[in-house]
Every structure is written in C-alpha cells, then in structure tokens.
C-alpha cells in the first residue's frame, strides 16, 4: 500500500516534468505538421513553450473568482492521473481521475456564465458522454487479457496486448480524436478563433488560467500517447521501440484527420462513438472468449 502511494507520487512528479517537455514538443510538432498540411511554414518547434511562459507572465484577469480553483484542480488531477498511469499503477484509477479532471474543466467553463463558454462546457459533457464507455472497455479488456489492472504488468507479458485487444485498440484510436478535441470532434473548443463558438470552453480564460488549460491539453496528449503505446509493450526490450513508433503513427493519423475533416454535429459524434464502442467491444469480448 505504502509503495503504491509513493509510486504514484513519484510518477506524478516525473509526469509533471517529462509530460511538460514531451507535451510541448509534441504540440510544437503538431503545429508545424498541421501548417505544412495547410501549405504554411508554421512556427518553430519551441514556440509552444514560449507561448506558455508568456501566458503565465500575463496579468491575472478573470470573469469570476472560481475559475482559477477549478482549472488548477483540473490540471493537478490530470497530472496525478498521468502519474498513476506512468507509475504502472491501476489503469481504472487513472481513467476515473482523468474524468474527474475533465469535470473540473467543465465547471471552469461553466463558472463564467458566458454564452460561448457555457455552450462549450455543455458540449464538453457531450464529448465525455461519447468517449467514456470506450475507455472503460479498454480497461476491461486489459484486465481480462492481462489478469490485472496494473499497467506495469504489460511489461511482463510474453505477447503485447494488441494481439488480443486489437478491436478495442481500434476503438481507442477513434475516441482519442474526441478526447483530444481534434476535428471533426472539436465541438467544445477549437484552436482557431471566430468559429461558431469562438473558443468554446476556453473563451473566457486568459493569462495563467489559459496557460493551465493549454498545459492540460499537453498532458492529455502525452497520456493518450501512453495509452496507445501500452498496447504494444511486452517483456521484450525491443517492444519499447515498437510502442513508441506505434504511438507516433497513431498521433500522426490524428493530425491528418484533424486537418482533413470538418466538424460534425453532436448527434453524429455520439452515434459514431457509441456505435464504434459497441462494435469493437463486442467483437473483442467474443474474440477473447473464443481463445
């Protein structure tokens, strides 16, 4: 028990540091690649770090006193969620903490009572409604195949999780788009201003609060990369290379989709996500029980 808690604490601290570096780097690459896809040159890879530090130096200004508490909680809980995951601890705990983090983010959006921000918050709830079942099915298949919820046990297996869990992996790839708010599922927020909802949940955030929201996105991205990589890890050391490559490929796919599809309505989002969740998880249950 003691080791679990210490492990989660150390994991969280390390995730806070490394997640920041990797997340910023990934964000920089994302912007660069997206720019190339759109025929632009794009900013330097280091640009996101400059943006964040500049935002943190800006004046603290807010529409309401609660926002900062909520957004800080959201960030801290997300870091702990990532800490739980990368410390190799309980996968379900990681998932439910990331949900709690999202709840605080939603409350931050609602706290301003601004029309754009509130609508963004409501849409964020719909995003959760869309993607959350799939996360749990991933954990369930993980548990059935590996026999434990502890992420660390994948590195003791002779075969990677993908061998038995390929259907839920496909589902996971899909809902990652929703979780990371990539187009066509960027309903609650979007990077480009002056869309129908301005920036949705982020509309009223400025300065340090906005910086925290952006940081959250970095950490979320790293966590998603981790979830993807987890499917390819096993006892062999070379599997780590496979896992990293797989995560990069999945992430590249996300960017490509983000740049090539237009935003959909929430109805389509829920239908698509629930449909794919049902199909992949049922196929996976059948597949696992046949073997």
């Amino acid at each position: 028990m003691f080791f679990t808690i210490i492990g989660i604490c150390i994991g969280s601290v390390l995730f806070a540091l490394l997640g920041y570096l990797i997340g910023g780097f990934v964000e920089g690459c994302d912007r660069r690649i997206s720019a190339r896809m759109q025929g632009r040159v794009g900013p330097k890879i280091r640009q996101p770090f400059w943006d964040i530090s500049k935002l943190f130096k800006k004046e603290k200004a807010s529409t309401n006193p609660s926002e900062n508490t909520y957004i800080t909680c959201a960030l801290v809980l997300l870091v702990i969620s990532g800490g739980v995951f990368f410390a190799g601890s309980n996968l379900l705990l990681s998932i439910i903490l990331s949900t709690l983090s999202t709840l605080f983010f939603i409350m931050a959006a609602y706290s301003s009572r601004s029309p754009f921000s509130t609508a963004g918050g409501a849409r964020e709830i719909l995003q959760v409604l869309s993607y959350e079942p799939m996360e749990y099915f991933m954990a369930i298949i993980f548990y059935i195949v590996i026999g434990s919820f502890n992420v660390i046990t994948v590195s003791l297996q002779p075969q990677p999780l993908i061998v038995y869990g390929w259907p839920v992996f496909i589902g996971m790839l899909f809902i990652q788009l929703v979780k990371l708010r990539k187009s066509p599922f960027d309903l609650s927020t979007s990077h480009a201003a002056h869309q129908e909802l301005l920036q949705g949940t982020l509309t009223e955030m400025s300065g340090p609060a906005l910086a925290k929201a952006k940081l959250m996105h970095w950490y979320e991205t790293v966590l998603m990369l981790g979830w993807t990589a987890m499917f390819f890890l096993d006892a062999r050391p070379e599997s780590w290379i496979v896992a990293v490559v797989a995560a990069i490929v999945a992430w590249f796919l996300d960017i490509w989709i983000d740049n090539n599809f237009a935003r959909v309505k929430w109805q389509s989002m829920i239908s698509w996500c629930w449909g794919i969740t049902l199909c992949t998880s049922i196929v996976n249950f059948i597949f696992v029980s046949l073997l």
Binding site: C73, G121, F285
Partner: protein, 639 residues
C-alpha cells in the same frame, strides 16, 4: 435486546406524542429530544453489535403476533377507507385481497408455527440501523424548519403537521421492526407499515395530483405486498417455518424447493425499490413534502426492498431464474433511468430517476450474489442514503428560497446561497464522481461484474454510468456559474435545516474518507459471516488512494473558489456588444437590449421519457412474466 425494543418503540411513542402536539415550539423540542434519543440508541446498538458480532435473540411473543395481525388489518382498512372515499377500484380490490389474505394467513396458517428466535441482527442490519437512526432523525429535525415554511406557503390550507410528524416517526418504527425481525410475519408488518406511511405522506397535501400519485404508489406496493404474502404462504406450507434465517438455509441446500417464494420475494423487493416498470410510483411520490422524499423515497424505505434482496444473496448465487430476473431488471433500470435523467430539468425528478437507477444497480448486484458484489451493494446503499438525502435537503431548502425546484432557476445560486451551493455540489459529486464513495462502490461493481463474467450487465452499467456523468455534470455546471453581485438570501434558512444539512454533509464526507475502515470492520466481517470468506474487488491500496483524494477534493470544494485579490475582474465576452456584462445584457442589431440566457441541454429526442419509458416497460415486464411463468410452472412440475 432491550436496546432493540427501545429502537422499535421509542419512535412510536414520539409519534403518538407528536400527534397531539399542535404548537411549533413544543413540537420542535419533542422532535429534537426524540431524535437525539433514537440516534444515540442507534449508535449504541451499532457499536455494541459490531463488537459482539451477529446475534439471534430467543424471543417469542404471542402478544407481538396479535399486535402484528391487528396492525396489518388496520393498515389494509386505512387503504380501504381511502379507496372508498376517492373511488379507486384497483386499490379497493388489492386492499380486500390483502386484508382477507393476511387475516387468513395469520389466523389459520401461521398460528401453529413458532419462531423461537424472532429478533436478530447482523452487520447489514446494523448498517441499516445507523442509516435509519442518524439519517432518519436528521431529516425529522430538518422537517421542523421546512414544514414551518411549507405551512406558511400553504397558509390557506389546514395545518396537518401533527399527523405529518406522527407518520414520519411511525415509519421509523416500521423500518426498525423490518430490519430486526427474523420472523417473516413481523417483517411483513414492518414492510406494510412503511408502504402505508409512504401512501399517507404522498397524499399529504390532498391535491388531486397528490391523491392520484398516492394511489399509484399503494397499488404497485400492495401488489408487491401480496407477492410477499404468497411467498410466506408457500414457505409455511412447504417448509413449515416462518424463520427467515431457516428459510435462507433451506433454500441454499435446495434451490428448486424455494424457487417460487424467491421469485415472489424478488418481485416484492423490485416493487419496493421502484424498479422499472414500477418506477413511476417513486416519480409520483415527489409531490410529497421534501423531507418525505429524503427519508422514505431515497434513504430508507426504498432501501427496505434491496435490504431484503441482499439478505437473500446466497440464494441468488445458486438459483439462476430469480438471479437473472434481478440482474436484467436492475441492469435495464440502471441504464435507462440514467438516460431519462438527462432529459429532466426538475431537480426532484432528476434525484428520483437517479435513485431508481442506483437502486437498480444494487438490485443487479444482489442478483449476482457473490461476496464481492455484496460488498459493492452495501456501500452503494450507505453512500446513496447519505448523499441522496443531503441532495434532497439542499433542493428542499433552495426551493423555499428561490421559489422553484427547476435546475434552470438555480442560476447564481453559488452567490445567493453560497454554503448551500457548496453542500449541494459536494453531495452531487459524492453521487457520481471519483474519488468519492459512490464511485468507489461503482468501481468495485465493475470489477465484480468482470470477475463474475456478467458481460451484458457491464454494457448496461457503463452506458448508464456515462449518462449519470452527463446529468450530474450539467447540474454542477449550473451551480458553478458566478456573475454579477446578487443578494445573499441564505440568512433566512432555519437553524434546524442548517443543522441537518451540515450534519449530512459531514457524515457523507467522513464516510467517504474512511472507506478502508468501514470496509475492514463492518462490511468484510459481514461477508465472512454470510459467505464464509470475504473478497473485496478493490485492494486496500486503492481504497486508501480514494480516501486521500477524497480529503483533498473536499478541502478544495469547501474552502476554494474565493479567487485572490490580485486578479482583475473582467467582463464576459459578448462579441463586443455588451450593455451590462453583470446582467448578461447586450445590444441587438437594431439597438434594442436583450438579455443572454443559457439553458442546459436535455436531449429530449434521444433520452426523453416518451422515447425510453416504453422500451423499459416492455423489456422489464417480459422479464417478470417469464420468470413468474417458470416459477409457477415449476410448482406444477412443468419446468
């Protein structure tokens, strides 16, 4: 055993005194005193019971038997009188069947049967005792202030508060009788007392709607009561006992012999726990004054049904037909009731659907019947009782101060009633989000379902759970909204209401933070007692993690959200046309001033009652009919 007698009788005495008491002050004093006595006695029984372990008491009394018969007959006569007065044929028929049936049963069939050990307790009983004693009494205290406001709002109607308080206390007596009895006939009396108390409280205002909903409640619950009676008759004829414990032991050894009574008891439990298709009575019950909803319709009475089902868990583990009945009905109810809750804007209806849903999960877990499942079910009962009554109390107080129970009217509640809002937000969070108690129990549920390979139930549970997130999160979002500088109207909340809400909040948080302890000292010994071994789905490390996080999040929610002085206040963005940002007004294209309002989403086309209820009713009625057909066919040797 003396303490048990005190627990069963003292609310009854308090109720009789309150019936004759018309002054506000004397009533408040009596309620406060009796609540302290009952709560302390409950704590005493709980502590001494946990230290001594489960006990059966050699107690047999013909006087109690006769009293139970008379009370049972009186209850049926009350319903008969109401059904004649309001010309309700179905209630009349069912009450006649019940009156004749129970008199016939008590006077002929049960007369020769003796139950030497009529009273008992185990840890599950003790948990219920604590819920009834502490939650129940806090709600009675809360009712003092609430009913004063209620009477002020309904000033032109007759003051029926003496009878209101009397019924609340009689109800507590009935609950104690139910949980302590090992004699099925006494259990049945307790069961019927709670049903009729609920009926009388729903019809309290005597409006047409209240009467209509009260009859719906009594018809559905009497159907359950008659099933209970049928089960007892079958048990007396075939097993020659009224000893509930003996019935359970016989049943485990010979599941085929008890198939019919188990299906009947399950049916009774399902009606009491307001499972689909019977959930409509609980929704109708929301017309009753809010303390009633908090006490009867969320924390205690509806728990009587699942209490009995959990007691019978070892039978479900060996008997597939009733087990499947509970799993399917509970699972479908959890999923679909959570869906419908998304489409509701009336706070009490949201709470009612959420109650129906959570009871569904508990029913399904009882149907699974393993030690792991019962661990989760007991924690669901405890946290639901505490958190849901906290929510009801908050909504009741808010209703009297903002004049509406509609969630859409709760704009700026965080500024108008800051303490109440924080209590409400925490209550909501305990209901649905990690690391609080309810979600820890749901987490254990999920692991249990995987371990017992209940794949269909996993689907129902996960989709139901995300729907739960959706309707609570949008409510929380509404509460989180802050703007302008509205007047604080919290000063006029009655002291009794503040006390009850504060107490429930503290209890809910403390319970959430001490799950590892309550698991080790209360629930696991129960599992060892019933199943021979305890198996908890979550490791102690995860429980401790949840506790630590609970404390952290609770501190933030209680003390945070004040902002700091260095932060400059800016106006919300209105595309550059704001007139007054605090009032959310802006200038339209032709120069008129509009106010921007926001409503939450309700997805009525997807999750509306009209769309979901028929699906729910048809599927659950099919399950019930098939299970009864199998059980009855089994009696005649057909299946």
């Amino acid at each position: 055993m003396l303490a048990i007698g005190v627990l069963i009788l003292s609310p009854l005495i308090a109720g009789c005194i309150l019936l004759c008491c018309r002054g506000d002050i004397s009533r408040n004093v009596i309620v406060a005193l009796s609540s302290v006595v009952i709560a302390l006695a409950s704590i005493y029984v709980f502590v001494s019971g946990i230290t001594s372990g489960p006990q059966f008491f050699t107690f047999e009394s013909q006087i109690v038997d006769v009293v139970c018969t008379i009370v049972g007959a009186l209850l049926s006569i009350i319903v008969l009188a109401f059904s004649i007065k309001y010309k309700n044929i179905w209630a009349f028929l069912l009450a006649c069947i019940q009156l004749v049936g129970s008199l016939f049963f008590d006077l002929t069939m049960a007369s020769g049967i003796s139950v030497p050990q009529s009273l008992y307790f185990d840890n599950l009983t003790l948990v219920m005792v604590l819920i009834i004693g502490i939650v129940g009494c806090s709600i009675c205290v809360y009712a003092c202030g609430y009913m004063e406001d209620f009477q002020a709002i309904h000033a032109n109607e007759k003051d029926r508060r003496p009878i209101f308080f009397a019924i609340m206390y009689v109800f507590l007596s009935g609950m104690y009788l139910l949980v302590f009895s090992n004699n099925m006939s006494w259990m049945f009396t307790g069961w019927e007392i709670t049903t009729v108390c609920s009926f009388l409280l729903i019809s309290y205002t005597r409006t047409q709607e209240a009467i209509h909903n009260a009859f719906r409640q009594i018809i559905m619950n009497m159907a359950g009561g008659i099933a209970f009676l049928a089960a007892m008759m079958y048990v007396v004829v075939n097993i020659h006992t009224l000893n509930f414990d003996a019935f359970l032991h016989t049943g485990v050894l010979d599941p085929a012999l008890v198939l019919f009574p188990v299906v009947c008891f399950s049916f009774a439990g399902i009606t009491k726990a307001a499972q689909m298709p019977f959930h409509t009575w609980l929704l109708g019950a929301m017309v009753a004054p809010t303390p009633t909803s908090a006490l009867l319709h969320s924390s205690t009475m509806v728990k009587a049904g699942v209490f009995m089902l959990i007691k019978m868990a070892p039978l479900y583990a060996v008997s597939p037909v009733p087990s499947l009945m509970l799993i399917l009905i509970g699972g479908i109810t959890f999923c679909l009731a959570s869906f419908i809750a998304i489409s509701q804007s009336n706070a009490k209806r949201v709470l009612a659907y959420s109650t129906v849903a959570n009871l569904g999960l508990i029913v399904a877990l009882a149907g699974v019947g393993t030690a792991e499942a019962i661990w989760a079910a007991i924690f669901l009962i405890v946290f639901h009782a505490v958190a849901k009554s906290l929510m009801f109390l908050c909504v009741g107080t808010a209703e009297h101060h903002i004049g509406s129970r509609n969630i859409e009217e709760m704009d700026q509640l965080f500024q108008r009633m800051p303490k109440l809002s924080r209590a409400m937000m925490i209550g909501a969070m305990i209901m649905f989000i990690a690391p609080f108690g309810m979600l820890v129990a749901k987490w254990a549920t999920l692991v249990t379902l995987i371990d017992s390979q209940q794949y269909a139930l996993i689907f129902l549970m996960l989709f139901g759970s995300v729907a739960t997130f959706a309707f609570w999160a949008k409510w929380l979002g509404k509460l989180a909204g802050v703007s302008g500088d509205p007047e604080n109207i919290e000063g006029t909340v009655h002291k009794s209401e503040r006390f009850a809400i504060g107490l429930m909040l503290v209890i809910a948080l403390v319970l959430s933070a001490t799950i590892p302890l309550s698991s080790a000292f209360v629930v696991e010994p129960y599992l060892v007692y019933v199943f021979g071994a305890s198996h908890v789905a979550l490791g102690p490390d995860m429980l401790v993690c949840a506790s630590i996080l609970t404390v952290a999040v609770a501190i933030v929610m209680l003390t945070g959200m004040h902002g700091n002085k260095q932060t400059r206040h800016i106006d919300a963005y209105f595309s550059g046309v704001a007139k007054n940002a605090d009032l959310r007004t802006y200038v339209g294209a032709k120069g008129q001033v509009y106010a921007a309002t926001q409503r939450n989403f309700y997805l009525d086309n997807w999750f509306g009652e009209a769309r979901i209820t028929p699906i729910a009713d048809i599927s659950t009625i099919c399950v019930i009919v098939i299970c009864f057909a199998i059980a009855i066919g089994h009696i005649f040797g057909l299946v």
